[in-house]
Amino acid sequence: MKTITYTLTLAAALLAGNMLYADDERYERGKPYMTETGKAATLYKTECGACHMAYQPEFLPKRSWKKMMQTLENHFKTDATLEKEEYATIQAYLLRNASDAKPVFGDIGKIGRKIPADQTPLRISETPYFKKEHREIPKRMILQKEVKSIANCAACHTKAEQGNYSEHTIFIPNYGKWDD
């Protein structure tokens, strides 16, 4: 019994140490707070990611995701309706990972925190910090056929799908690296 208690304590201590270390590292490198993996996250990626990048749920607050899920019949002028079961799983996933559901670090966290409390944006690209960060990008770079729209994160943010939007991962088609 003593040995078991000892082992458990040791394991817990190691785990706590690891988590602290991981948190620090994430924060320092400006990485987002991306935690959830598993069935719901995979479902979100296959369902929503079939038409566009599966934007990290940490970008928007709960009220935005609620509204999004209520308007899937006309989702940015496209039918994005889901079956009941998938709907429930995805909605719950979005709500428990929303910007105001947990601490979110890094660039993604900044976007969420700077959304005014009286606004319910559906487009991440219309939030204040997003606009500020993209204000110097010429329109032609966004409208070119390799990018198509400001919503196509992964066209320039080469690690967007992994939640990494740091500057050194940017590569704009027909232009190259972006230096602020």
Binding site: C51, H52, D79, K148, S149, N152
Partner: protein, 135 residues
């Protein structure tokens, strides 16, 4: 108790069987016949017309299925609005296509609404499925 389990397993078995794409197509055929007694079976030619005909879609732009899925079903396509790549429709190059009935139903429902701004009828769905599966 044992009997209940067996019965439950049988029910589960039949409903699984009912979920195959072929069974779905048979179901569409029955519906089409019910809606139109002159229905003689699905037609790949009619399906081709459905696939290529252009309509002012949900986004207010003239589109057809081919706008994103291209004229050649053995080629990959691209969502013309988001840029997301789409795998080929033709089962001859993409064997996973049309194997998951849930997916088939979902995309027929959504894409008819996107292009035709309404749901497809049973006959239209069967026609276009036949065309896509045989190309």
């Amino acid at each position: 108790m044992k009997k209940t389990m067996i019965v439950l397993a049988l029910i589960a078995g039949t409903s699984l069987y009912g979920k195959t794409v072929d069974a779905y197509i048979n179901q569409l055929a029955a519906e089409a016949k019910q809606q139109n007694s002159a229905f003689q079976g699905f037609s790949a030619q009619r399906g081709k017309d459905i696939y290529f005909s252009k309509h002012i879609g949900k986004r207010g732009k003239e589109v057809s299925c081919a706008s994103c899925h291209t004229d050649n079903l053995r080629q990959g396509g691209e969502n013309i609005f988001t840029g997301k790549k789409i795998k080929p429709l033709s089962p001859s190059v993409n064997p996973k296509r049309f194997t998951d009935v849930k997916k088939v139903k979902k995309w027929l429902r959504r894409n008819f609404k996107d292009v035709y701004k309404r749901e497809g009828t049973a006959q239209e769905k069967g026609d276009v499925l036949l065309f896509m599966r045989s190309n």
